[in-house]
């Protein structure tokens, strides 16, 4: 899925301040809560487009927010009771549009492997090790216990972790997922250097 590319970094640079303010106000009258909700929607939209297979998920997110903000500024969605539902429906449309475009392009642009050359892999590994070492010892050991080994070993360890920590398997999965997210952020920073 390939959305049209924009010069998007933090997103929605084509939106003027007034339109953006109206969007925030529509999300929540409280400016602070509105900003938090906007960030949440943006990050989740990003995952949505990734899971939908978008080739440029950033651009798709911008496109979705752009469309919603304009409709809000126009007063077209003032009575929409649930902003999330509206974002979801617009995202769905964006996805459908770009998928059609993409299918036309796919025959011309072969998919390239994502992994880079040996140097990049080495750098990636170095950064990963560095980020792992930066984790607090408890979290690093939890990652090791949770992820290392084959599935039988992992299963046994996870059962033991659930018992030792006194939490549900789901809570354990979420705890590890949060640590992984932290690790991913660290990795992004390391790779940018």
């Amino acid at each position: 899925m390939g959305c049209r590319m924009r010069a998007a970094t933090t997103g929605n640079e084509t939106l003027d301040q007034e339109t953006f303010d109206k969007l925030l106000e529509w999300l929540d009258p409280d400016r602070k809560r509105a900003a938090e909700q906007y960030e949440n929607i943006r990050s989740r939209l990003m995952r949505l487009f990734v899971w939908r297979g978008a080739q440029s998920p950033d651009a798709c997110v911008d496109e979705t927010i752009d469309r919603v903000a304009r409709r809000v500024a126009e007063g077209a969605v003032a009575e929409m009771p649930d902003p999330i539902r509206y974002f979801a429906s617009v995202a769905w449309n964006v996805c459908s549009e770009v998928r059609r475009r993409e299918q036309r392009l796919r025959t011309k642009e072969p998919l390239l492997p994502a992994s880079g050359d040996g140097h990049n892999e080495e750098r990636l590994y170095h950064c990963m090790e560095r980020c792992l070492n930066q984790l607090p010892a408890v979290e690093r050991l939890l990652m090791i216990d949770y992820h290392a080994g084959d599935w039988r070993v992992r299963l046994a360890r996870r059962e033991r972790l659930v018992k030792d920590l006194g939490i549900s398997p789901n809570a354990l999965r979420l705890r590890c997922s949060r640590i992984r997210s932290k690790l991913d952020s660290c990795l992004e920073d390391c790779l940018k250097r």
């Binding site: 050991l141 033991r160 999965r173």
Partner: protein, 306 residues
């Protein structure tokens, strides 16, 4: 995990692998856009899915869906690559942590890093071997020390006995020294109440009309007796030998070096204790080329002191 959660997890897997209908997809997307907890759970399921793929644990048709649908986005392909690196780094970290498996638990609750079974087996075998060696060494040391202790105790016992003997000897020597000192002192001191006995040869006393047998009474406290042994012998020798024999014919004293006085007597001083009351014979000989020549014989009788 309960049935509801398991079913939700399966639905999430279906969404990520592209197996849900459009309606189901829309419903699920709407939910995770508005529900942070649900989104977190979906992210966790996604991580598990990637991990299973990297470990080559995904079975068909999931593996095919994963490659064709899930990895369609380059972002996902990067995530898969990074997960691969992440797991390699974790495996490396796990091996390093295994080296320090003896360190105490570091989780709030007990979460232990277990070494592999093989490593554990090797460790136990090495520990058993080490214990066997240490035990053997300790037993040898114990035996050796016991022998040393026994030897030391025997040597100590011997030394103690020698010391006791030496002390006894020292004590006896002390007594002897005291006696000798006393005797020496007495000898150096003037002798009081000494008596002098003129003794005549037996041939004169045997005669019925001869002088009475030589009888002597030593007063109480008298310690020395001086005998004047008269002689009628005409032949003179340079020195003489004297033997004192008691009634049982036992020689109680003998000595050489006696010389005849110019007046014709032989003079000898004896401790009175040498001659307790009783009869004695004094034999005077003249040594001559390894033989002794009888010269005179005296008989004396010591009376009870008064």
């Amino acid at each position: 995990m309960d049935t509801k959660t398991e079913a939700e997890k399966e639905r999430m897997r279906g969404y990520l692998l592209g197996n849900l209908s459009d309606e189901e997809k829309a419903r699920l997307e709407e939910r995770f856009l508005g529900d942070g907890a649900y989104f977190e759970q979906l992210s966790a399921v996604e991580e598990e899915l990637i991990e299973a793929y990297v470990h080559r644990e995904l079975k068909e048709p999931d593996r095919k869906c994963f490659e064709q649908y899930f990895m369609e986005s380059p972002v996902q392909r990067v995530r898969v690559d990074r997960t691969d690196v992440f797991l390699q780094a974790l495996e490396s970290a796990r091996r390093q942590e295994s080296l320090f498996a003896s360190t105490p638990p570091r989780f709030p609750k007990a979460i232990h890093l277990r070494p592999s079974r093989r490593a554990l087996g090797s460790f136990l075998a090495a520990t058993a071997l080490l214990l066997a060696v240490i035990t053997s060494w300790l037993l040898r040391q114990q035996t050796r020390l016991r022998e040393q202790i026994n030897q030391s105790q025997a040597a100590l016992q011997q030394e103690y006995q020698i010391e006791q003997q030496l002390r006894e000897q020292e004590k006896q020597a002390g007594v002897q020294v005291a006696q000798l000192s006393e005797q020496l002192r007495e000898l150096k001191s003037p002798q009081l109440n000494g008596v002098i006995l003129d003794a005549y040869p037996s041939r004169f006393t045997r005669a019925a009309d001869g002088p009475a047998p030589n009888e002597l009474t030593v007063p109480l406290g008298g310690k020395t007796i001086t005998l004047l042994l008269h002689s009628s012998s005409r032949k003179a020798y340079p020195t003489y030998r004297l033997e004192i024999v008691d009634a049982k014919e036992s020689v109680i004293w003998q000595g050489e070096g006696l010389v005849r006085q110019t007046t014709g007597e032989y003079v000898i001083s004896l401790p009175s204790e040498l001659l307790p009351p009783g009869s004695y014979s004094l034999h005077l000989y003249a040594p001559n080329h390894g033989q002794r020549i009888p010269v005179e014989r005296y008989r004396i009788r010591m009376a009870m002191p008064r």
